[in-house]
């Protein structure tokens, strides 16, 4: 068979034979199947997880709009809140900029995690999940790759927000160790939340619906919290909601770790308000323990 490669159909078939020959064919042009390099299941899981993470990172690189908008929104929030509300909201100590930043961080990373939901729904719609599911790869790895993608975006937007915050006067009043612990806690919470969203994306199957629904749920969740205002003066039902709100616990933890708690701040009576770190860690554990297995099971039966 000729291995000439021009555009005629005959030579395309020739190329098929030639390709088979190069990839280890036996005599007579009989093509033989390419064999996998059989590693342990663990090494295959990590390899698949890396390939799908790479795919999601490539998307961030190839569709710069995603990055642009995920960056612009927090910058806009920092500026809006600082200059619009900053004048009106009286915070003792370092002022509103310092109080605000942990709230903006928490809100941004939680919103950043919703991307896993719409992206899973979109991948399902595009059929790429059908492709993955016919391959001898780990299904869990697809989800790991997806949530890693969110983690990368969230880490980037943290950097951008911190730089912006610094410019408007935010200062960290704690040790470097505490500072990094604060950043890690925010990203960890968001990472766990990505698994919740990935599951919802697969269950709802429509990227548009998941986008709108997450706005409806996350706006109240992030605004009826201590993220942007001290909660003492909220009407009682809202104050109680805010004290039990896990986002409040996340914000409170970050504030403590960054040394941004205003002097004389009043802490609510709710257990979650009294124990913000434990609340965040329990929240993370519950989200992961419930939604990692649930998502993996859902993925295993998913088809366009």
């Amino acid at each position: 068979m000729s291995a000439e490669l021009n555009a005629t159909s005959a030579s395309v078939a020739g190329a098929a034979g030639a390709a088979a020959n190069r990839t280890g064919a036996t005599a007579g042009g009989t093509a033989s199947t390419l064999q996998p390099i059989l590693g342990s299941p663990i090494s295959r899981f990590f390899s698949d997880g890396w390939v799908t993470t790479w795919r999601n990172l490539m998307k961030i690189i190839r569709v710069p709009e995603i990055l642009l908008f995920t960056m612009i929104q927090p910058i806009m929030f920092v500026l809006l809140f600082t200059y619009v509300f900053g004048a009106a909201i009286e915070i003792p100590g370092d002022g509103y900029e310092s109080f605000l930043m942990a709230g903006i961080f928490a809100q941004t990373v939680v919103f950043g995690s919703t991307y896993s939901g719409s992206a899973m729904a979109q991948d399902l719609k595009d059929g790429i999940i059908d492709r993955f599911r016919t391959l001898p790869m780990s299904g869990a790895a697809v989800l790991v790759g997806r949530t890693n993608g969110d983690l990368a975006i969230n880490a980037l937007s943290m950097v951008v927000m911190m730089a912006t915050g610094f410019l408007v006067g935010w200062r960290v009043n704690s040790s470097p160790l505490e500072f990094f612990a604060g950043v890690a806690l925010l990203l960890l919470f968001a990472y766990a939340f990505s698994w919740v969203m990935a599951f919802l994306g697969m269950a709802v199957k429509s990227p548009e619906v998941i986008n709108n629904a997450s706005f409806l749920i996350l706006f109240p969740l992030t605004f009826i919290s201590n993220a942007f205002v001290p909660t003492e003066e909220l009407p009682t039902p809202l104050r109680i909601f805010s004290e039990w709100n896990p986002v409040s616990a996340l914000v409170q933890s970050a504030r403590e770790l960054f040394g941004n708690v205003p002097p004389g701040a009043i802490v609510g009576d709710a257990w979650t308000a009294q124990n913000p770190f434990a609340t965040v860690l329990i929240g993370v554990a519950v989200m992961l323990l419930v939604f990692v297995p649930l998502s993996i099971r859902k993925f295993a039966t998913l088809s366009r």
């Binding site: 395309v12 078939a13 190329a15 199947t33 390099i37 039966t301």
Partner: protein, 327 residues
């Protein structure tokens, strides 16, 4: 045991507020090793559902399926190691280049980076995509996407290949090229199950054809056997205007040996006949008497189209109706 074997597959869907759809209703299938079997059937017949069950994408409600004695339902991972699949709609990552898409598939088959890269290059050449290989798929035409997707199915040179309407959306040259690729793979021992709407494709490629309708196999055999099963000669008449269809059908059923069926485009009608020349002149004569203008009239041997129309003609209308209701 056949190489690919499905027994009594049943798959139902219950769309919200609509009656239960029996996508597969007791489907049986046997595919011999190293052959091409075509699934032929009207829209909604259950072709894609069959392919999805066999490629481990969905679980049937009941029934069994094996590929090379491996249980598809119980041991999907082993099946995935020996199949290549290309679904009805191209499944490619829009943001990766054609080359990167194929590399990714190779890596996910765990071929190792070096082999995956080399194989991606070969496939890009094989599918005539060299110029487009390094652009993101987003900018590809439908046919180019399709070819990347098909190439994805060939990455490990799998012993078993599932292709759901592989040439839909391809231009004639790419279609011929794909046929050549499939033929060359089969001569190398690959087993292929494909679905198609093009009877010419089944005629050319398939060693065996299963005609399916309403989730069930209603006829099977080689193309020649199927043609022989619908019997004798036919007369085909093409009208100048669709408006004359009703009187023409009356004439054709008067002189034909069966019911006339529409042969495409609304203007061509085909009827089986006992004596070709006599029936042809009688039909043409009667049409002339009634001033029906004919574009073309002639005798022919049965084609796969005739088989398809005869077997599913009525059922195809039913399927269309139920689809309309569901929509």
């Amino acid at each position: 045991m056949a190489f690919i074997e499905a027994r009594d597959l049943v798959k139902t869907y219950t769309p919200k507020g609509a009656p239960v759809v029996r996508a597969l209703d007791g489907l049986d299938l046997d595919v011999a090793q190293g052959t091409v079997t075509a699934l032929l059937g009207p829209n909604g017949a259950g072709k894609t559902t069959t392919v999805k069950v066999l490629t481990t994408l969905i679980q049937p409600d009941s029934g069994t399926a094996t590929i090379d004695d491996v249980d598809v339902l119980r041991d999907p991972d082993r099946v995935r190691r020996m199949i290549g699949a290309s679904g009805q709609y191209a499944a490619v990552d829009e943001n990766l280049t054609g080359f990167e898409n194929l590399m990714m598939v190779g890596k996910l088959y765990h071929l190792g980076a070096k082999v995956a890269k080399q194989r991606a290059r070969e496939l890009i050449e094989m599918f005539d995509l060299v110029d487009a290989a390094n652009r993101p798929v987003k900018g590809f035409s439908g046919g180019m996407r399709r070819r990347i997707d098909l190439a994805g199915a060939l990455v490990i040179n799998p012993p078993v290949l599932f292709l759901d309407e592989p040439t839909t959306g391809l231009d004639p040259r790419s279609r011929l090229a794909l046929w050549d690729i499939i033929e060359s793979l089969v001569s190398g021992g690959t087993t292929v199950l494909l679905t198609t709407q093009y009877l010419e494709e089944a005629d050319r490629l398939a060693d065996a054809i299963s005609v399916i309708d309403n989730g069930r196999v209603i006829a099977k055999g080689t193309a020649d056997e199927l043609k022989a099963s619908v019997g004798g000669q036919r007369v085909a008449v093409t009208l100048v205007s669709e408006r004359d269809a009703v009187p023409l059908r009356d004439i054709m059923s008067r002189f034909g040996a069966g019911a006339p069926v529409e042969g495409g485009g609304g203007r061509t009608w085909v009827v089986p006949v006992d004596n070709g020349p006599v029936a042809l002149s009688a039909i043409v004569g009667a049409a002339a008497e009634q001033n029906i203008a004919l574009h073309d009239a002639g005798m022919r041997r049965p084609t796969l189209d005739d088989v398809f129309l005869q077997l599913t003609g009525h059922a195809a209308e039913q399927a269309d109706e139920t689809e309309g209701e569901a929509a």
